[in-house]
């Protein structure tokens, strides 16, 4: 797979590869909407969130017919019930903990994404980082929702400041989130088969039932 580089728009890249590039940049499970925004900001547009809706199902089908036939799969992030999390895409080559979603994970994911986007902007990589670029708009939208990340909508956000603010909030959540996800990953590794580990188990029990059979998740 080719990485980086500006979006020349002529190269034929499948939707699947485009999503993979964006997810690799972010490093955490993400919603189709965010994947499309990152694609547009850093690799050139052309990907719409709606194109990703059936992707996970296609990948699961492909995995079922020939397991591990591809170098990577776009798979599910798993909830505290080991079921697939609604609307999140992840990469199968990530360690299991990275694909788990504990109660704090959505926020941690968001902050991690903001750091990744801001770092990518400061690193350059041929990114158009002008105030009207897609990258700047994406970062501005994220910075607004991080305490201390942006002044009152004046001017484009400063990537360094966003990184600092996001890391400050991450420090508050990181410990508990890492603990939750490690515990979930342990359970997933112990209880799930290959396919369910990637694409999630069917949901049949409520948390009450689970409390009777195993340790509580949270």
């Amino acid at each position: 797979m080719r990485r980086g580089g500006g979006g020349d728009g002529l190269r034929l890249v499948t939707v699947r590869e485009q999503a993979h590039q964006a997810l690799t940049l972010l490093g955490v499970p993400a919603q189709p909407r965010l994947i499309a925004a990152v694609r547009e900001a850093f690799f050139g547009g052309g990907l719409r969130g709606a194109q990703l809706t059936s992707l996970r199902r296609d990948e699961e089908r492909s995995f079922a017919s020939s397991p591990y036939g591809r170098p990577y799969y776009l798979c599910a992030a798993l909830t505290d019930r080991l079921s697939p999390a609604r609307g999140l895409l992840a990469v199968s080559t990530w360690p299991l903990e990275q694909r788990m979603v504990g109660p704090l994970s959505p926020r941690v994911h968001f902050l991690t994404c903001a750091v990744a986007v801001a770092e990518r902007m400061t690193a350059g990589h041929g990114v158009d980082a002008g105030p009207d670029s897609g990258a700047a708009r994406l970062l501005a939208r994220m910075a607004r929702n991080i305490p201390g990340g942006a002044d009152l909508d004046i001017g484009p956000p400063d990537p360094a400041r966003v990184i600092e603010a996001a890391r400050a909030e991450l420090a508050v959540h990181a410990e508990r989130d890492t603990r939750d996800r490690a515990e979930l990953a342990g359970r997933a590794a112990a209880q799930l088969g290959d396919r369910a580990r990637l694409f999630g188990a069917a949901t049949l029990s409520t948390i009450g039932d689970r409390a009777a059979t195993g340790p509580p998740a949270i």
Partner: protein
């Protein structure tokens, strides 16, 4: 409740949703609506069969817009919502735990919601902050209605807050009062349902705040803004209305024994009962039509038609009806005004006002 089932007859009951329950509170004086809702009658099918279909329900465009706005508010782990809750309610930075109740299958969501809220109420720490799409149950006249608030936020001083996401705009701090009132009524239904759930679980129901968080787009952009709306008044109306519904027996007692609103659905589910007969049955119950009904009740056109035939003051709106207390029809009011009709006992005051108004009108026109 057997009498109510008889009113519904062989037609299957229709479950209530939050809008329907909120509409109850919009016109508490209407005995017809109370009876139909109490019996779980499908008012929409009834209205269509009577030949008065209401162009009712949300437009698909409004639904799409609403869903898109809700997705925006909840995107990226509720990033926008967290910002607003931090600004509005001073939510601590550490409180970000998110539970997507929709992750479980539909048949388990209610049980899952109960378990999650029980845990949250039991243990002050380490529980969730944001619950996405929980499923609450509220018993309405013997039937459980399932309700789905957009978000319930917890951990703001150990209290639950209902968050209602609406896509009408707040422009320069002002929003359409009718839309806000409707949102407040709907949120009050959720508050009530959640309070009842907590009470059943053995917790203090007052831990559900009566201030709901209303999230709307601000000005002409799509940027969400949150405001606190006090729904105590709506709650009081709703509670009274629901307690009246359990006391429907009184209303039922006044009805003839053989009365039924059954549509007699055939094998294809289509009503077979003659429409005129059904209309006669409905007219045996008193409605309290007001122009506001047009936005809340399926039967609005039927009741409006009835009010028109009677020339009732109700057509002119609640305010006029209240001013004309004791005068039932427009014809009567006009008669009192031009003096062709002698005021009955108790009507002297309103008759004097009407005659004065008529004199002023003539002087103006002369």
């Amino acid at each position: 409740m057997n009498r109510l089932d008889a009113l519904r007859g062989t037609t299957p009951p229709k479950p209530h949703d939050a809008r329907a329950i909120a509409a109850l509170a919009a016109n508490p004086g209407c005995a017809r609506r109370a009876l139909l809702d109490g019996a779980g009658i499908d008012k929409d099918a009834t209205a269509r069969h009577l030949g008065f279909p209401a162009p009712f329900g949300q437009s698909p465009f409004a639904i799409t817009r609403g869903n898109a706005f809700e997705a925006l508010v909840k995107a990226d782990g509720c990033a926008e919502l967290l910002r607003m809750l931090r600004e509005l309610l001073e939510l601590p930075v550490a409180e970000v735990a998110y539970h997507d109740v929709e992750n479980v299958g539909a048949h388990l969501r209610h049980a899952h919601t109960r378990a999650l809220f029980d845990r949250a109420a039991r243990d002050e720490h380490d529980s969730g902050t944001i619950y996405d799409h929980p499923l609450l149950g509220l018993e309405i006249a013997g039937h459980v209605a399932y309700l789905e608030p957009d978000v319930v936020a917890f951990q703001l001083g150990g209290r639950f807050h209902i968050v209602e996401i609406k896509s009408f705009a707040v422009i320069d701090g002002q929003a359409d009062p009718a839309a806000v009132a409707a949102a407040a009524r709907q949120a009050a239904v959720y508050v009530l349902a959640l309070r009842r759930m907590l009470r059943e679980l053995g917790h203090d129901p007052l831990r559900v705040a009566h201030d709901v968080v209303l999230v709307c787009p601000e000005n002409f952009a799509n940027r969400p803004v949150a405001t606190l709306v006090d729904v105590r008044r709506q709650l009081a109306v709703l509670e009274r209305q629901l307690s009246r519904m359990t006391g429907l027996d009184r209303l039922v007692e006044g009805l003839p024994e053989e009365l039924t609103f059954d549509l007699l659905p055939g094998e294809d589910g289509l009503p077979t009962r003659p429409a005129a007969e059904l209309a006669d049955a409905l007219r045996r119950t008193t409605a309290r039509y007001a122009p506001d009904c047009l936005s809340t009740c399926d039967l609005c056109f039927f009741c409006r038609d009835e009010a028109r035939q009677e020339g009732a003051c109700d057509l002119l709106g609640r305010q006029v009806r209240d001013e004309l207390g004791g005068v039932a029809s427009v014809e009567e009011a006009l008669g009192l005004a031009d003096g062709t009709r002698a005021p009955a006992e108790g009507q002297e005051e309103i008759a004097r006002l009407l005659r004065n108004a008529e004199r002023l009108r003539r002087e103006c026109l002369a």
